[in-house]
């Protein structure tokens, strides 16, 4: 007697979110829509994650050697940086970080930020994830202006947090964008933020969760287990957890000492460039298995390695 194949059938599913538009040579990207765990295509619908290249609106001053080297000639020009990512690396999205808006740095005006964001959007044709500078008060001004400037383009904006979500939620609702909800490695707050945002009228289908990311050696397992638990809760029928999930891999791994210390400091660790790009790629691939939907990445070789792995896994 042969054993019948065992298949899990889940009550819930992950919402499908399409970002971007098909107007003026642009194209859309769709994430989520899972009805089972990653890569279990024999059980239900799954969709591999997309990669967003992290691009700054000002040249990063203190990036690790190999990373700074990879983008040196374009790092002062967000448009050229983003275009290279899309044209040469084939990334699916651009994560534009409006770092220069920070009052501690250039303190760029909302108008200036909008101008850059529009220029990048027009140049690349892929959906953008617009990420503020991290200063809540300034972000509320800047992101509202950028959201308005990019009205109707159906982009992604972040970060909404438990204690600062209203302004951004209102903007996304008014200008037809989706929102990224940040929770600090806390699955209960992840659910709470989703409830708060949906209370504002933005449907759960327009939210992407960012449960924050721990890089390899720096809490990766913990971040992984939170991502996995949140996916299991959603598939188990918890509608308020049914969002696609983001991991910000590049920014996490490139601050680890393993991605900074060169061969003179740590000869036993091997060549810095290989080590650091592997650190980013390994972290990303791990989250792929936990069910991540958007990987925000930095180094071209790490991106290429993850793309190759995704191609192999997706068959």
């Amino acid at each position: 007697m042969s054993l019948p194949p065992y298949q899990e059938s889940w009550k819930g599913s992950i919402g499908t979110l399409t970002l971007g538009t098909e107007r003026n040579g642009s194209h859309t990207v769709t994430i989520g829509g899972h009805t089972t765990l990653p890569f279990l295509g024999f059980e239900g619908e799954t969709r591999p994650p997309v990669i967003a290249l992290e691009v700054w609106d000002q040249a990063p001053a203190d990036w690790s050697g190999p990373l700074a080297e990879a983008w040196r000639d374009v790092s002062a020009d967000a448009v050229a940086w983003a275009k290279r990512g899309v044209d040469e690396l084939g990334v699916d999205m651009i994560c534009l970080r409006l770092v220069s808006a920070s009052p501690d740095l250039a303190d760029s005006s909302p108008a200036k930020c909008s101008e850059v964001a529009e220029a990048v959007a027009d140049a690349v044709g892929v959906p953008l994830f617009i990420w503020g500078c991290g200063d809540n008060a300034k972000d509320n001004e800047v992101l509202a202006a950028v959201s308005r400037a990019l009205r109707g383009r159906n982009f992604l904006f972040g970060m909404a947090e438990e204690d600062n979500y209203k302004t951004l939620a209102v903007s996304c609702l008014a200008d037809n964008h989706a929102i990224v909800a940040l929770s600090p490695l806390d699955i209960n707050i992840q659910k709470q933020v989703n409830i708060l945002i949906t209370d504002m009228g933005l449907p759960i289908e327009r939210i992407v969760a960012y449960p924050t990311t721990g890089g390899l050696g720096y809490g990766l397992e913990y971040a992984y287990s939170i991502m996995e638990r949140s996916r299991l809760a959603a598939l188990g029928g918890d509608k308020m957890m049914s969002t696609p999930i983001m991991a910000v891999v590049g920014a996490e791994t490139w601050k680890a000492k393993e991605s900074i210390a060169d061969e003179t400091v740590a000869p036993q660790w091997g060549a810095l460039k290989e080590r650091a790009t592997l650190w980013e790629a390994m972290t990303a691939v791990t989250f792929v298995q936990a069910g991540v939907d958007i990987l925000v990445m930095r180094h071209p070789e790490a991106i290429a390695a993850v793309q190759k792995t995704l191609g192999t896994l997706a068959g």
Partner: protein, 261 residues
């Protein structure tokens, strides 16, 4: 936790009058409100006063189905009411209820099989309600075997260990709780369990308090379904909180609201 809404029952005066006058508004309103409050299944019972119970039940089934699309639980003491009503159901219904008496099982289980219905089975047999936990388990076992013989799958079987009024037979409450635990050990997968919650508070003064405390105690012993009044908000809040404390829902500060989404 599967919630079976109890409010469309001819025991309630307004429902009895609505059935007698064929006044759909009252029924439709109760159907909408119960589903909005969290009922997954609606119990329909024409009550003991109806002259033509089979005809009244068909009217009730049609009326509720015009308003909502949740499964209905056909609830009657009269055997000839069931088949005409089951025939009308658009979604796989519930039969409420058979007992463990062999003649009842032989009548109801083929109906459940024919209409793909779930069936509530009371642990009563030819000798009446057993006074012990073991007596309840013994009848539950007989019901399960009979269900298997009639091709009714275990996931369609809801065993009711008989809730008795605390005011009359106080010592039966802990026996029922133990029975709920025992039923879970009888097979794998185990049958569902269900109670008619408000029986526990019959003729008592603190009805609502008794109902919600007993519900939570039963849930802690493994109860996974109940016939209750979903319009009792404190009862529903207790149910949601119990599910949370049993780790069936993911905690967040707004968990009551999250459950109701």
């Amino acid at each position: 936790m599967l919630i079976i809404g109890e409010r469309i029952n001819g025991m309630f005066k307004n429902v009895r009058a609505a059935i007698a006058e064929e006044n759909k508004d009252v029924i439709v309103d109760l159907a909408h409100r119960q589903v909005a409050a969290g009922a997954h299944v609606l119990d329909v019972n024409v009550g003991p006063a109806s002259d033509e119970p089979a005809r009244a039940m068909v009217w009730l089934v049609d009326t509720v189905q015009e308003a909502v699309d949740v499964p209905l639980s056909i609830d009657s003491a009269k055997l000839d009411v069931f088949e005409p009503a089951l025939e009308r159901c658009k979604v796989a219904p519930f039969i409420n209820s058979t007992t463990g008496a062999q003649d009842k099982l032989d009548f109801f289980l083929p109906l459940a099989q024919k209409y793909d219905a779930s069936i509530i089975a009371l642990t009563i047999d030819e000798q009446g309600v057993p006074s012990t936990t073991e007596g309840r388990s013994e009848i539950a076992m007989r019901i399960m075997v009979s269900a298997m013989e009639h091709g009714v799958p275990m996931e369609h079987l809801y065993i009711d260990p008989i809730t008795l009024p605390v005011k009359a037979v106080q010592d039966q409450c802990p026996r029922l709780l133990r029975a709920l635990g025992q039923f879970r050990q009888l097979s794998d997968p185990s049958p569902h369990t269900v109670i008619g919650l408000s029986n526990v508070s019959q003729r008592a003064q603190e009805k609502h308090l008794l109902d919600r405390v007993f519900l939570v105690m039963c849930m802690a012993h493994g109860l996974d379904s109940a016939i209750l009044d979903p319009l009792d908000k404190e009862l529903m809040d207790s149910l949601i909180t119990a599910e949370l404390l049993l780790d069936k829902q993911l905690y967040c500060d707004a968990y009551l609201e999250a459950y109701r989404r």
